[in-house]
C-alpha cells in the first residue's frame, strides 16, 4: 500500500465552559499541532455550531486534509454531526475520529493540569489511530414493510392501530387468549372516571377487523433474528381447540364442563370453566379450552363440551401452529406485572381475607366481577364502612427490590376511594400514603375533589396490619402531619401494589438483545430524547415495559413508537453501518468459535473450495467484535477497529515519546 503521508486536522472544543472550565483547550490544540501528520489544529467555543463545522470544511478544502479529529463530547452526541461535516466536504466520513474530552475528561476531573494532560493523551491516541483509518462505504439493504407489535394491551393496541392506519401491514402477537391487557381489567380510569372497557373495547374490535392487522393471540415468540428492516420472527400459537367460525358464543360448552378453575381475569375472585371465554368483550371473541386443565386433554374421556356443542365448534385435533413472520420493525409493548402482595408479609395479603390488592378492587367494583360491582368484605360479604388504602406497596421499597415510584398507584387509589365514596356515602375512607404524587392533567384536581369528598389522607405508612377474630383489620400508624399515633380498626384494606417488569421479559430481552435498566424495565435509547427507541435499531418500545406509566402517557408513547417504526418502514432501503467484521480466509481455519460466540447469527462457517471458512453475513453483523476477539487465528477483524488501528492508539497512550 503506497500512500502519501496523511494530512490531519485537529479541532479541540471548549463546549462553552463544559470543557473549557477544566481543560486548557488552547494548550491541547497547540500540543496537537506538534503531532506527526497534523497540518492544522484549532480550538473553538462550539465545534458543533455552524461556524465550527464550516471551519472544518474550509480546512478540508484549503489544506487538503485527508483525516479529521474532533476532541469534544461523546461520539453518541455529535459523532454523526461531524461525520456528515466531513462527507459534505468530500472526505469519507470514516476518515474521521472523535475524542471525548468532556464526559471522559472535563466532567469527571477537577485538577485542571492533569485534565489537560489527559486531554492531550487522548488527542495523541486519536491522531495515532486516524492515520491508519480506511475509507468505508455504507451498504444498503431492502426494507420489509411490515411491523410486529409484541403485546396486545393498550400500548400494543394503539401502536398497531397507528401503524395499520398508516397503511403498514402489522402483526400483533399476544400471549393471552384475548387482547386488552390490564386496562381491560380496570373498571374505571382516572381522573375522568371513564369506563375503562367502554373506551378500550372499540379499539380492541378495530384490531380484530383491521385489514392491515393480523392478530395472533395465545401465542409466544419463539425466536427472533435479523436486523432493522429485515427481522425474522418465529411465533408459536397454542391450540384453542375451538373453531372460531363455528363458535356462536352460546356457552353450552362451559355450562357442561365439569372443571372449575380460578378466573385469572377476575384475579381468581370468580370461577371459570376449562372451556371459557376470558371476558365478554374478548378479542378474538370465541371460546377456548385450557389444555392444562381440560379433563379430556389431561386424562381423556370427558368431551362433554364437544358432545353438547350445537355447532360442532370443538376440535380436539387442533395442534399448535408455528409461523415465520418477516417484518422490518418491531414494537415491544409487553407491559407490566403487578407486585405480588403476598411478599409483603406484614400486610397479610393471602392470610387476611379482608386485605385485597388494587387490582382485586378493580374486579370487585366491576359489573362483571364476583359481586356484580358490589364492593364487600370478602370474609362475610358485608358492605365495608371503614376502609383503608395503603400506598407504595412494593414501590419505593428497596427491600422489595423496587426503588422507583410506580407512578400510577396514587391516582388509582384516589380513583378507587372516590368510587367507594359514591357507593358508600357515609363510609370512612383513609389513605395511608408516603407522598401523594399527582402530576398529570386533571390529577391534582381529582385528588382535591377526593379530599373534598371527605377521604382522609394520612401521611404515614403503616408498619403492619393485624387481624381480630372478626377479620377486622387493625392498623397503628403515625400521622406525621399531627405527630399523633393513630389506631384504626378497618373493615377492608386495599393495598396499592406497584408495577413490576414481567418475569417473561428476561427471555424476550435476550432474544431481542435489549438492555434493561437497573429497575428491570427495558432501557430506552436515550432517557430524554429517544424514549420510544431501544438500543437496537429497528426495535421500538412503548408502555409500561419501558417504565410504569398511565394510559394517556402510554398511548402517546405508542404514537411515538409507531411514528418511528413507520419512518423506517416507509423507506425502500436502509443504509447499514459499514463497521462490520471481515474474515481473512487465508488465515481462517474454520474452527467455528466465531459462529458459536456471535449473538446475532451474523457469522457462519461454510464449506468452500479452500475448506471450511467463516463468512460474515454483512447485513446481520452489528460490529460488536466478539468474533474478532475470539478468533485464535486473528483471521477476523472489525473494520474501523482493526488490530493495527487499536494497537497504534494503545501504543500512543503508553509511549508518548514514540510519536513525539
Amino acid at each position: 500500500m503506497s500512500k502519501s503521508e496523511p494530512r490531519i486536522g485537529v479541532y479541540v472544543c471548549h463546549c462553552g465552559l463544559n470543557i473549557g472550565a477544566v481543560v486548557d483547550v488552547a494548550a491541547v490544540a497547540q500540543y496537537a499541532q506538534t503531532l506527526p501528520g497534523v497540518v492544522v489544529s484549532r480550538e473553538s467555543t462550539y465545534t458543533c455550531s455552524d461556524n465550527g463545522q464550516r471551519s472544518i470544511q474550509e480546512d478540508i478544502e484549503n489544506h487538503n486534509l485527508s483525516r479529521v479529529v474532533v476532541a469534544s463530547c461523546s461520539p453518541r452526541m455529535h459523532g454523526d454531526t461531524f461525520m456528515k461535516t466531513c462527507e459534505t466536504a468530500g472526505l469519507n466520513p470514516y476518515l474521521f475520529e472523535m475524542v471525548n474530552i468532556r464526559e471522559q475528561c472535563s466532567w469527571v476531573h477537577t485538577d485542571k493540569e492533569q485534565a489537560t494532560e489527559k486531554a492531550k493523551d487522548l488527542v495523541r491516541m486519536a491522531v495515532a489511530k486516524v492515520r491508519l483509518l480506511e475509507p468505508l462505504e455504507k451498504q444498503k439493504s431492502a426494507v420489509n414493510k411490515a411491523a410486529l407489535v409484541i403485546g396486545g394491551g393498550v400500548a400494543g393496541i394503539f401502536s398497531a392501530l397507528y401503524l395499520a392506519n398508516a397503511g403498514i401491514k402489522t402483526y400483533v402477537v399476544e400471549k393471552k387468549p384475548s387482547i386488552g391487557g390490564h386496562m381491560a381489567q380496570l373498571d374505571k380510569t382516572f381522573p375522568t372516571l371513564d369506563c375503562s372497557l367502554c373506551i378500550l373495547s372499540p379499539r380492541m374490535a378495530d384490531i380484530g377487523k383491521h385489514e392491515n392487522i393480523e392478530l395472533i393471540t395465545y401465542a409466544d415468540i419463539e425466536n427472533i433474528s435479523g436486523y432493522a428492516g429485515n427481522f425474522q420472527v418465529t411465533v408459536k400459537s397454542n391450540p384453542r381447540y375451538v373453531i372460531k367460525e363455528n363458535c356462536r358464543l352460546c356457552g353450552v360448552c362451559a355450562e357442561k364442563c365439569p372443571i372449575s378453575l380460578p378466573d385469572e381475569f377476575n384475579m381468581g375472585l370468580k370461577k371459570r370453566k376449562a372451556v371459557y371465554i376470558p371476558f365478554p368483550q374478548a378479542v378474538p371473541n370465541y371460546y377456548l379450552i385450557d389444555a392444562g386443565h381440560c379433563l379430556h386433554i389431561t386424562k381423556g374421556g370427558c368431551m362433554l363440551c364437544q358432545k353438547n356443542c350445537p355447532n360442532d365448534a370443538i376440535d380436539f385435533e387442533e395442534t399448535e401452529a408455528v409461523r415465520e413472520l418477516n417484518v422490518g420493525a418491531i414494537i415491544v409493548a409487553t407491559g407490566f406485572e403487578l407486585y405480588d402482595a403476598t411478599q409483603k408479609k406484614e400486610y397479610g395479603y393471602g392470610r387476611y381475607p379482608n386485605v385485597i390488592t388494587n387490582m382485586d378492587f378493580e374486579r370487585w367494583v366491576s359489573a362483571d366481577g364476583p359481586t356484580h360491582g358490589k364492593v364487600v368484605r370478602p370474609s362475610d360479604g358485608a358492605p365495608p364502612q371503614r376502609i383503608g388504602f395503603i400506598q407504595c406497596v412494593g414501590s419505593r421499597d428497596e427491600k422489595e427490590g423496587a426503588v422507583y415510584c410506580s407512578r400510577i398507584c396514587c391516582m388509582a387509589t384516589v380513583k378507587q376511594a372516590t368510587m367507594l365514596r359514591e357507593k358508600y356515602p357515609s363510609a370512612e375512607i383513609y389513605v395511608y400514603y408516603t407522598d401523594m404524587r399527582t402530576p398529570g392533567k386533571g390529577f391534582e384536581e381529582f385528588y382535591q375533589r377526593g379530599r373534598e369528598h371527605g377521604i382522609v389522607f394520612i401521611r404515614g405508612k403503616p408498619g403492619e396490619i393485624e387481624e381480630d377474630d372478626n377479620h377486622n383489620l387493625l392498623i397503628v400508624s403515625e400521622d406525621t402531619d399531627s405527630g399523633l399515633i393513630l389506631r384504626n380498626t378497618l373493615d377492608l384494606v386495599v393495598l396499592a401494589c406497584g408495577l413490576r417488569p414481567p418475569e417473561a421479559l428476561e427471555e424476550l430481552a435476550q432474544k431481542l438483545h435489549l438492555s434493561r435498566s437497573p429497575d428491570g424495565f427495558i432501557m430506552e435509547a436515550h432517557p430524554k430524547l429517544r424514549p420510544a427507541e431501544t438500543s437496537i435499531s429497528g426495535v421500538f418500545l412503548t408502555g409500561c415495559v419501558q417504565f410504569p406509566k398511565d394510559i394517556p402517557d402510554t398511548v402517546a408513547q405508542s404514537g411515538g413508537a409507531a411514528a418511528m417504526a413507520a419512518a423506517l418502514l416507509t423507506k425502500d432501503e436502509i443504509e447499514l453501518e459499514p463497521v462490520r467484521a471481515a474474515v481473512d480466509e487465508e488465515l481462517c481455519i474454520g474452527c467455528g468459535l466465531c459462529e458459536e460466540n456471535c449473538d446475532y447469527g451474523a457469522i457462519e462457517v461454510k464449506k468452500t473450495e479452500e475448506g471450511m471458512k467463516a463468512q460474515v453475513i454483512e447485513v446481520a453483523c452489528q460490529g460488536c467484535g466478539v468474533c474478532a476477539a475470539s478468533c485464535p487465528q486473528k483471521a477476523v477483524t472489525v473494520r474501523h477497529f482493526t488490530d493495527g488501528q487499536l494497537l497504534a492508539q494503545v501504543t500512543a497512550a503508553l509511549e508518548p515519546e514514540v510519536i513525539v
Binding site: 373534598e452 369528598h453 394520612i458 402531619d481
Partner: protein
C-alpha cells in the same frame, strides 16, 4: 416518662370535618393539603407553641373534635389573614378558626374573654363602657358626646339566640 397517648380512631368524630365545612367560613377545610404555608407565616405560631393552624386543621380532619373544641388553641388565631392571603388551597384559615369557634360556642366552650366581649356588646352596644367621665373628657377636647348605650344590639341578640350564651 410521660406515656404516649395512642388515639383510637373509632372514638373520634368523623363528622366533625363536615360540621366545620357546613359552617360559614369553614367551607374549604377539606381542601387542606397540610403544606404548612399558614403555620410558616403565622405571627402567633412564630412566638407560641400553643397555636399551629395547620395542626388544628389536621386534628379537625381526623375528627379530634373534643380536643379542638375544649383546648383553647383555636382562640389564639389573631385573624391577621396573613395565611389566608397565601394559602394555595384557599382554605381561609381565620374564617375557618371563626367557624370552629362558632361550633365551640354552641357546644358550650366559649372562651371567657370572648364571652365577656359578647356580654359588653350586648349590654352596652359597644365593647368599652362610656360613662359621663369619658364624655366630659371628650367635651373638654372638643369632641362630640357619644351615646352611652345602644339597645338595638340586645334586640339582635335575642333574634339570634346569642343572648343566652353571653348575657
Amino acid at each position: 416518662m410521660k406515656k404516649k397517648e395512642i388515639i383510637n380512631m373509632d372514638e373520634l368524630d368523623p363528622q366533625f370535618k363536615y360540621e366545620i365545612a357546613s359552617q360559614p367560613g369553614g367551607e374549604h377545610i377539606l381542601k387542606c393539603v397540610q403544606c404548612a404555608t399558614c403555620s410558616s407565616g403565622c405571627p402567633v405560631a412564630s412566638v407560641s407553641d400553643r397555636f399551629n393552624p395547620r395542626k388544628i386543621i389536621r386534628m379537625a380532619v381526623l375528627g379530634l373534635k373534643d380536643t379542638v373544641l375544649r383546648e383553647d388553641f383555636v382562640w389564639y388565631c389573631a385573624a391577621c389573614y396573613t395565611c389566608s392571603e397565601r394559602c394555595p388551597q384557599d382554605v381561609r384559615i381565620p374564617d375557618l378558626m371563626a367557624a370552629v369557634r362558632n361550633i365551640a360556642v354552641k357546644e358550650g366552650c366559649i372562651h371567657p374573654a370572648y364571652k365577656e366581649q359578647g356580654r359588653l356588646i350586648g349590654e352596652l352596644g359597644r365593647l368599652y363602657e362610656v360613662t359621663e367621665f369619658e364624655n366630659e373628657k371628650r367635651e373638654k377636647l372638643g369632641l362630640p358626646k357619644v351615646r352611652e348605650k345602644n339597645e338595638e344590639i340586645a334586640e339582635i341578640y335575642s333574634c339570634t339566640g346569642v343572648g343566652k350564651v353571653v348575657l
